[in-house]
Symmetry: C2
Subunit: 219 residues, 2 copies
Amino acid sequence: MTVLDSSSATASSQVFEALKRDLIRGQFKAGEKLAISSLKSHYQVGLSPLREALNRLSAYGLLEQVNQRGFRVPAMRLEELDDIANLRSQLECMALTQAFQNGDAEWESLLVAAHHRLRRADEKPEQIEEWEQAHLRFHRALLAACGSSWLLRFIEQLHDQFDRYRRMAPPNPEVRRQLDAQHGELVEYALNRDISGGRALLDDHIRLSHDVARGCCDV
Amino acid sequence: MTVLDSSSATASSQVFEALKRDLIRGQFKAGEKLAISSLKSHYQVGLSPLREALNRLSAYGLLEQVNQRGFRVPAMRLEELDDIANLRSQLECMALTQAFQNGDAEWESLLVAAHHRLRRADEKPEQIEEWEQAHLRFHRALLAACGSSWLLRFIEQLHDQFDRYRRMAPPNPEVRRQLDAQHGELVEYALNRDISGGRALLDDHIRLSHDVARGCCDV
DNA sequence: ATCGATTAAAAAATCGATTTTATAGAGACT
DNA sequence: AGTCTCTATAAAATCGATTTTTTAATCGAT
């Protein structure tokens, strides 16, 4: 049973966030059909806010809705992973270029701060969720200054999709070490405004995760 | 009062489609707060399917939801129009390249067919909606063979956003003539697999609509 | 045994009513 | 007059029950 906080947010948006997290974490089996009544008791909400959350999640692409047949978790397809990784790489390199061109001192300091928090989160390997959040925020901070809110929106969406695949892979300390090193290098490139270096590294960074995820995506 | 058809689609998805169309058509004032009860009577549906549709539309970006304060139509901002047009241009050129590389005979014939329907729709100027639909389908057909479903998804979303601005502009026969000519040329480039020519033209095509829309977007 | 139709059960979708929250307006005070 | 609080109203969000549709099981026929 997941307890929802009692902030001013509506029940609907709380379930949305909780369900989104769980879908990306892989708490549901790929291709599985969601049993609404069990979700109701699991997340402790009524039918209306739950259905509203499910509708938002299907518009976002983390669920599929079939008319009169409810909601299902999208299947994992190798072809789709490749599509997501490839497009993510292209869009993020595009954003990186603009961010390196437009970024100001404020952007730099937020990026350095996000990187610091990521390194700190790295120290406690037992709390994956904290690291995941710090990781997402780091990548957000890297591109935040790109100046295009629609580009950032699509990148965020692809990142969530990508993570759904990436998080299927078992933890690999060696890969993790490499990825962490790349995060540090990305900050260096950002501060030096080295666009071509940054693009190449970001591309490698995504490719490395992609290759790992690829190994766990059957069919 | 909008009458909904009686197909097998759920009330929820029918309102979604109808509302989406009306939002893009500019039937609601930009920045306006939606009065749920009046929507209920206008679209002749109950509260639940209506709210589900509104939730999907905000996840899609055609509405904004504020906690405990309902749904509102996003404001029109010149800055956002520029962002949308610019990103749309980049993503569509990316897709065009891939479509021209991957497209087969089936793609060619569907494109030619879509173009034909667009020209036919052009003949009856009184029925804007038919032309709009044919126009959307033509642009879909042009890029359909790009091979990336996520890229197509984002392009569709941007196209809808763009149209919300474009359709504010009053009809301009001269511009329309130019755009129509470009559609024909795009087909030519597609059949010849002329990627650089196609990209340049598609870029011009979007820029032309962008310039027109820009004139009607105050602030 | 397989296919098709019929029906019972389960699940999805929708409705109407209730609860909660925001908003606007009246009155009291500075 | 302006600001504050309180209250009445309106709107949003949620709940519980009903309706509709799908799914699964049963029976009969080929």
